[in-house]
Structure formats: structure tokens, C-alpha cells
């Protein structure tokens, strides 16, 4: 690209930012509130996504544990996906000094915590299905684990509940290769969680005449591949044209100049 054009585009996108102290002060106070709003928003968004299932009357969906289960599942799969992308990006554009083993370890601790919450949710679902005394609910869960889609259920269980437990070992938690492999397992596991929730609950109905097996159409496969294409196009464009680490944010948390941090 012509250098002049590139500069014009970046100048336009920088909105006339001059780094004025007053602007930074306003920016800081705004960021704090936006961050405070974003955290409960995560809870709200995933709770409502789970309501899409939970407010229906389909056995396997009509569950009160869905909101917390989806929230922890979202944090769990989100961290795994970020780790997958981050580990490759870190190597590819040499961010070894910025993203360290300490960051990796902290993220992996979140993965164990949320992965275990998800594991408890799976077991609670089974318990509640049994305890409810409702035969349709009980059938839905027995069918999930031992019916025609048993393989999907056990892939989900292994990838989401068993593999993240390896992070209890410090060596594994601090290894980029091991983390990368386990994060892929978590991605697969969380994909199968959606598959299990949707497909195994729908392929059986109250009337056996509506029973069937699921086969994706070419449109469904196309949309699935398309989402990958869209995501990676935007992701690659972002890392190619924009700074991947906001250095101003990294610098500001170092607190080099605040009165109380200056060594007297």
C-alpha cells in the first residue's frame, strides 16, 4: 500500500488522539465503568442464552442449572480458545517477552476452576434427572450416556472434565505445548457439549414416531465452515494491521510514577 494512504487511514481511525493528560484521565474513568459493566453483562448474556433452552419443555433442556452451567462453560471454552490462538500468535509474531509462563499458568488455573464447575454441572444434571422422578427426564439422560449418541457424550465428558484436571500438575500448567494440546481438547469438548445438548435432546420425542437420527445438510456444514472462515479472516486482518497488545495498558499497570510507588 502507498505509505501516505496507510498513514491517512490510521490517522482517521485514531480519532485525533493526542495523549493529552485530561483525555487519559477521562479515558481511565470511562474504562473502569465499562469494565464494571462488562462483567455482569457476561453473566447476563450467557444466562439468557441458556434460557433459550431452559424455558422450553424438552427433557434435557428444561433444567434450572443451565444459567450458571452456561456461564462457567463460556468462561471455560473462552479461555481455551484464547489459549489456542494466543500460543500460536505468540510464536508467530514473537511476543515471548510479553506473554509469559506466568500468564499461561494463571489462565490454566481459571481453566481448572471453570472446567470443574462444568463437571459438577454435568453430574448435578444426572442427579436431578434421577431425583426428579420424571421418566422422560430420566430417559433423556440415560439415552445421552448410553443411547445411540453415547460417543458424543463421552467425548464431551473426557475432553471437558478429565483432561483439564491435568493442569493440577505444575509442569503441565506451565508448558506451552501441553497447554496447547489440552486447549484443543477443551475446544472439542465444548463443541460436543453443544452437540449433546441440542442433538441428543431432540432426536427423541414424546412420540416414538418422531424419533430419528441427525444428519447435517450441506447448508449446515457450509455455515459451520463459513464461521471459521469469517472468524479467521477478521482475526488475521486484526493481527496484521492493528497492535495486538495495547502497550499503553501494559505500561499503565506498571504504575512507575504514581506518588506511592516511587521509591523514596
Amino acid at each position: 500500500m502507498v505509505p501516505g494512504v496507510k498513514k491517512k487511514i490510521y490517522a482517521f481511525l485514531s480519532f485525533g488522539w493526542t495523549g493529552s493528560a485530561k483525555h487519559w484521565a477521562r479515558h481511565e474513568s470511562m474504562s473502569l465503568i465499562l469494565a464494571g459493566l462488562a462483567a455482569p453483562l457476561v453473566l447476563s448474556v450467557h444466562t439468557i442464552v441458556s434460557f433459550d433452552f431452559a424455558t422450553s419443555v424438552i427433557p434435557g433442556w428444561h433444567t434450572t442449572i443451565f444459567p450458571p452451567y452456561f456461564v462457567s462453560g463460556a468462561v471455560f471454552s473462552g479461555f481455551a480458545m484464547v489459549l489456542t490462538l494466543m500460543i500460536i500468535t505468540r510464536k508467530a509474531i514473537h511476543l515471548e517477552d510479553y506473554i509469559t509462563k506466568a500468564h499461561l499458568e494463571s489462565m490454566n488455573k481459571i481453566i481448572i476452576a471453570t472446567g470443574s464447575v462444568v463437571g459438577i454441572a454435568y453430574i448435578t444434571e444426572l442427579f436431578v434427572a434421577w431425583y426428579s422422578g420424571n421418566i422422560y427426564e430420566q430417559y433423556a439422560f440415560v439415552n445421552r450416556a448410553f443411547g445411540p449418541y453415547w460417543w458424543a457424550y463421552w467425548i464431551m465428558m473426557t475432553c471437558n472434565v478429565v483432561t483439564p484436571q491435568l493442569f493440577w500438575f505444575k509442569k503441565i500448567r506451565r508448558s506451552f505445548l501441553a497447554t496447547f494440546i489440552i486447549s484443543i481438547f477443551v475446544n472439542i469438548g465444548m463443541w460436543f457439549e453443544r452437540f449433546v445438548i441440542i442433538v441428543t435432546s431432540l432426536h427423541r420425542d414424546f412420540l416414538p414416531s418422531s424419533w430419528s437420527m441427525y444428519t447435517p445438510t450441506w447448508v449446515e456444514i457450509g455455515i459451520y465452515i463459513g464461521t471459521f472462515g469469517l472468524f479467521f479472516t477478521l482475526f488475521f486482518l486484526f493481527i496484521r494491521f492493528f497492535p495486538v497488545i495495547a502497550i499503553a495498558e501494559v505500561k499503565s499497570v506498571l504504575k512507575t510514577s504514581a506518588e506511592k510507588f516511587i521509591k523514596k
Partner: protein, 171 residues
């Protein structure tokens, strides 16, 4: 258009910047602007900034969002189009919570972001002048407006406090 004359000097460390600002203030030289590559903590107290009113604007917008969200749902479900959902009450607060919360967040976020951009005169097509491009890299710049005091004193004081690259700009 009125000509504006600006004297600038920069530092390469934020600690030096704060020390220099204090010295300038002790000599009663008004500081027009300070430009830094990242938010320097403690700078706002040194420059005696008033607390930003953005949080207050955000809160008011949030309250408006809450009222709009709750009020609109209440109006729709009780007056405009009451529907019978299995004999449940038309005014059902628990089911209004998600939409109310999200509109509160939306209004607050819009008020904060647009309030910030408008108040700081930022946005596409902004005519802000960057006297030194390195303020987005490693320069901590002090700007002094010549109309505030004598230009000679300014240049001299900036040299005394250890500023580098002292320059005069006319805009």
C-alpha cells in the same frame, strides 16, 4: 484566525515529567497541556484536575435506560398488547429483568463513550495537532501557551527543569 503560540518540551521518563511539572507550578507557569504515551498515574493530582463528570453522566443515562426498559415493557405487556401466558400476571417483573438490565448497560455505555468523545473533541475528522508524534511512543511532552506568561521565561524554565527538544510552534 488568531495565532496561537505554543512552547513545548519533552522528557523520556514519567518521573522527570512529574518533577518538572511541580517546578513549573512552583514558578507560577500555567501548563496548557501534558501529553503522554500512556496514562501516568498521579499526573491528574499533580495537574489538579477536577474529577471527571463522565461517571455521573453514565449514571444518569443508566437510570434513563432502566426507566425506558422497564416502562416500555410494562406499557407493552399491560396496555398496548396484553397477552395471556398461561394465566400469569401481565406485569411480571422477573421476566422484565434481562431487557431492563441490558438497556441500562446500553444507555450507560453509549453515554460514556459518546460523552468521552464529544467532551475530549475526539472523533473521525478531528483537527487535533500532534506537535510530536513520539508522544504516542516514548516522549512525555509539556505544552505551554505563550499568552499565559513570558516566552523567554518559559524557554528558560523548561531548560532548567531538564526538558529536551524545546521548541516553539505557531498554530
Amino acid at each position: 484566525m488568531k495565532q496561537k503560540k505554543i512552547v513545548s518540551g519533552y522528557f523520556t521518563d514519567d518521573k522527570d515529567l512529574i518533577v518538572a511539572i511541580k517546578k513549573l507550578q512552583a514558578r507560577n507557569i500555567a501548563i496548557a497541556d501534558v501529553r503522554t504515551p500512556f496514562p501516568v498515574h498521579g499526573l491528574d493530582t499533580v495537574l489538579k484536575f477536577k474529577r471527571s463528570r463522565l461517571p455521573r453522566a453514565g449514571f444518569i443515562a443508566g437510570v434513563i435506560g432502566l426507566c425506558v426498559g422497564l416502562g416500555f415493557q410494562a406499557w407493552v405487556f399491560t396496555k398496548a398488547w396484553p397477552l395471556n401466558f398461561g394465566g400469569k400476571p401481565n406485569f411480571s417483573l422477573p421476566s422484565f429483568i434481562p431487557v431492563t438490565f441490558e438497556l441500562t448497560v446500553l444507555f450507560t455505555a453509549f453515554a460514556l463513550v459518546f460523552g468521552f468523545l464529544i467532551r475530549s473533541k475526539l472523533g473521525p475528522g478531528s483537527d487535533a495537532v500532534l506537535y510530536d508524534e513520539a508522544v504516542t511512543d516514548d516522549h512525555f511532552q509539556i505544552l505551554l501557551d505563550v499568552k499565559d506568561s513570558n516566552e523567554e521565561t518559559m524557554l528558560q524554565t523548561l531548560t532548567e527543569v531538564g526538558a529536551k527538544g524545546i521548541q516553539t510552534h505557531e498554530v
